[in-house]
Symmetry: C2
Subunit: 480 residues, 2 copies
């Protein structure tokens, strides 16, 4: 006699227990009652994960569920803790997790309309909302996909196919002029990776220098473009950032966009982090000119506070939304062309495609876009306050004024100030400080390297973090 693994009663009782445990967890995490990161050495922790494949059912299913959940909670990083200010993973809106549960249980696939009628319609609706936020009209379009790296790959694939008029897709890249990409030297690594994946090779990436605030130098862009063209290269796309990864800087999108329009070149904007400023009344102006781009990548699992993965790839011209992929799969797609836009899998890498729109649709419908935009404003504001605080201290140096919610800085205590000529010692100090602070369990921050110097890096990803937390971080850095 088989167990009924599908029993609704078991789902009901386990479901209520999991919800209770997660609600209690959320309460303690946001109160800072747990260490933000219960840091463990990977090799040591691995000893707990040596069991071989469990063949038989647990003796007590409920107890095993609780045991598994406890183990995960006690070993995870807690993004709802006010001391979390590390990588760009947000304290997610709890409602979005419930919407995600609905996606999981129904398991509809938004690649084909009939396999996810609500999922497809909701994806189309939220994509329209996002396009409208960019400032685009009905001629724009886009899709949701599994993360910013895949989003950048998808957009650059469309650009590559556009530049080669489809010949690369069919015949490959052996013939024709060599393709090049003009990319900010601060761009995310997924752009160079995309060049590697797409068969251009990473050497096809030409780095555009950035100014003291890490924003693309448009004169340099122009010079490099001319140079590449004179060398017989075809510039397939210019890539700017709306929020660079390391420092959250916004490139001069209007000037870049106008340059690209003038030269008839594809303009891709990686807005993974910062496109969400479009939802903030106060900070929307950072994105000025973003509407000039050909393609835009926007991670909702960053500054719209949703669980990963949910990335929008948006195209100013609808037909470009069909440019990345080209295929036939007779068993899958609608035959009537007027319905093709409802079979989203024609335009995404994913064939099985999670209904990821739910987790954006629920918070927008329940909380509204203004409230979510205020969370963006709040985190950006706080980073600016933090910068002002640090500037008032003699022993801290900023990498640059912040533009968004990312701030990079160095701790240079008096005893080390004389070591400005011994950069290794100062770099080592940052790493050591970071390690000590993280090990304390009170704060979580990261580090980055900017122009060959190590910096501490904070990103305010939790709207419940306060200026008091940041003052505490300053003290923790000093005491370490």
């Amino acid at each position: 006699m088989l167990m009924d693994l599908y029993d609704p009663e078991s789902f009901r009782s386990s479901g209520h227990r999991v919800v209770e445990a997660l609600a209690a967890y959320l309460d303690s995490a946001r109160a800072g009652e747990v260490p933000v990161l219960p840091l463990r050495a990977p090799l040591e922790l691995a000893e707990q994960y040596q069991d071989s494949l469990p063949l038989d059912a647990a003796e007590n299913a409920e107890a095993e569920v609780s045991r598994c959940l406890e183990q995960i909670l006690s070993q995870s990083i807690h993004l709802h803790h006010p001391g979390y200010m590390g990588h760009q993973l947000p304290a997610i809106l709890p409602l979005a997790a419930l919407a995600d549960l609905i996606s999981s249980l129904l398991n509809n696939s938004a690649a084909v309309h009939e396999m996810a009628q609500a999922g497809t319609q909701i994806e189309r609706q939220v994509v329209r909302w996002l396009c409208a936020a960019v400032g685009w009209d009905q001629d724009s379009d886009g899709i949701l996909t599994s993360g910013g790296s895949l989003g950048n790959l998808t957009a650059l694939l469309a650009a590559r196919n556009h530049a080669t008029q489809g010949s690369a897709w069919r015949q490959g890249l052996r013939d024709g002029p060599p393709l090049a990409l003009l990319v900010s030297d601060q761009a995310h690594y997924s752009i160079a990776r995309a060049a590697g994946i797409l068969g251009l090779g990473q050497d096809a990436v030409i780095a555009i220098p950035t100014d003291s605030r890490f924003r693309v130098d448009v004169t340099a862009l122009s010079d490099l473009y001319t140079q590449a063209t004179q060398q017989g290269k075809k510039v397939m796309a210019v890539v700017g950032s709306a929020g660079t990864t390391a420092t959250g800087a916004f490139d001069p999108l209007r000037a870049m966009g106008e340059f690209c329009r003038e030269h008839g070149v594809w303009f891709h904007v990686d807005g993974s982090h910062g496109a969400s400023a479009l939802f903030s009344e106060r900070y929307r102006s950072l994105t000025d000119g973003i509407e000039l781009c050909s393609s835009l990548v926007w991670d909702m699992h960053k500054m719209l506070f949703l669980p990963g993965l949910i990335t929008a790839v948006l195209f100013r011209r609808r037909e470009d939304s069909y440019g990345a992929f080209s295929q036939e799969a007779s068993y899958l797609f609608a035959r009537r062309p007027e319905e093709a836009s409802f079979d989203i899998g024609l335009r995404t890498l994913e064939c099985t495609k999670r209904t990821m729109g739910f987790k954006l649709w629920f918070p927008l419908r329940v909380h509204g876009a203004k409230a979510i935009g205020q969370l963006v404003t709040q985190t950006f504001d706080l980073a600016h306050e933090f910068a002002a605080l640090l500037k008032a201290q003699p022993d801290f140096e900023l990498a640059a004024e912040p533009e968004s919610n990312i701030l990079c800085f160095r701790h240079v205590p008096a005893a080390l100030r004389a070591l400005e000529n011994a950069p290794d010692r100062l770099d080592a100090h940052q790493l050591q400080v970071r390690q000590g602070v993280v090990a304390s369990g009170k704060y979580f921050l990261v580090h980055t390297v900017l122009r060959n110097k190590v910096y501490l890096r904070t990103t305010i990803m939790n709207p419940r973090t306060t200026v008091e937390d940041l003052k505490g971080l300053i003290q923790a850095i000093r005491c370490d």
Copy 2:
């Protein structure tokens, strides 16, 4: 005054309500009390999704959550309905959805160990379990990624980099011998797509003919390999299927693997659908020889009954697991080489990486691998019973004997039998039958094209489907 969008009490109360609603839904879906697909015309349904971006909060949050959920439930396809036998999306194990909720709320990112200590360790543990199921030792390794298409792309990227010794990654594909892929003519479209994406061009795909049961003809493979080599091409990989998409056929993996070993060529197996036969005592032998492959893609969101997306990309040699990507991101990854294997993002396209291992780990620990393997056995068994049933009918023709849980067949009633020379009419009949049955709301099946003929296609993806349901389907087809 801001609303508290993070209030644990709201999460608790909404959470319990969502669990109740989903448990009730599960109950009615599996009892077949709802139409399997409440079919709507895409353009007509779209009229319900025309509202512009909601700016303000809903007046009653709880009521709005319920309204959103009801709308989704009433418009979705119901995979837990016993009449669902369409595309390869399973009736998921409800426990897996709860594990997925934990992933969503915690939002840890399994690209970097400290950003998901439990998530990373669990991914490593389940990958080891899967490698062991293949029959591999400690020298194998792999990762989890966002779907089979991305999995195939990742594996073939590793193969491309291997074949070009990394030069393609750096310098692109302009130089060196042209690369080719030898691929079953029944392979999933994501393989040809990968050739398009990777810069080889889809023309680099050489189709290997298949036999009457849609399995690769190894003699033809050998001939085509010789021919390609004589033409100066470098065969980058041979691709076989463990469960083809259209008919669920298993290629002769041992013979293909031995051929590849002999010729020193990368052997990739797309086991998206069928690798889960490794968990079934009765059907494991279908995968005979799978352990000879260089890389294997295995979708857990197909025949391990998990919600999408969770795909394993496994490599026989650990070092190949690092072969797809190559990059530096100073702010992200561990500096100590012995810890590099814990920063999984070095080996995945994803940079933000959902902790997708949870949804496999919970069912294996709670239900055990045997019980899940029995579900595989049950669905495969049922497809064989269905084939026997159909063969006993005068008005049905099989495309081929089934090997797994996919069965393709045609309805050829006496009145149309004379039309064997008017294939269009017979094809049209299949499409018409399919449309009628689906519109009835009692069953959901799909169609496919095999050797220029249209077939009806069923895949038993719900272990609660019975032989009575299949008899009902036969009647429904006849009556339509």
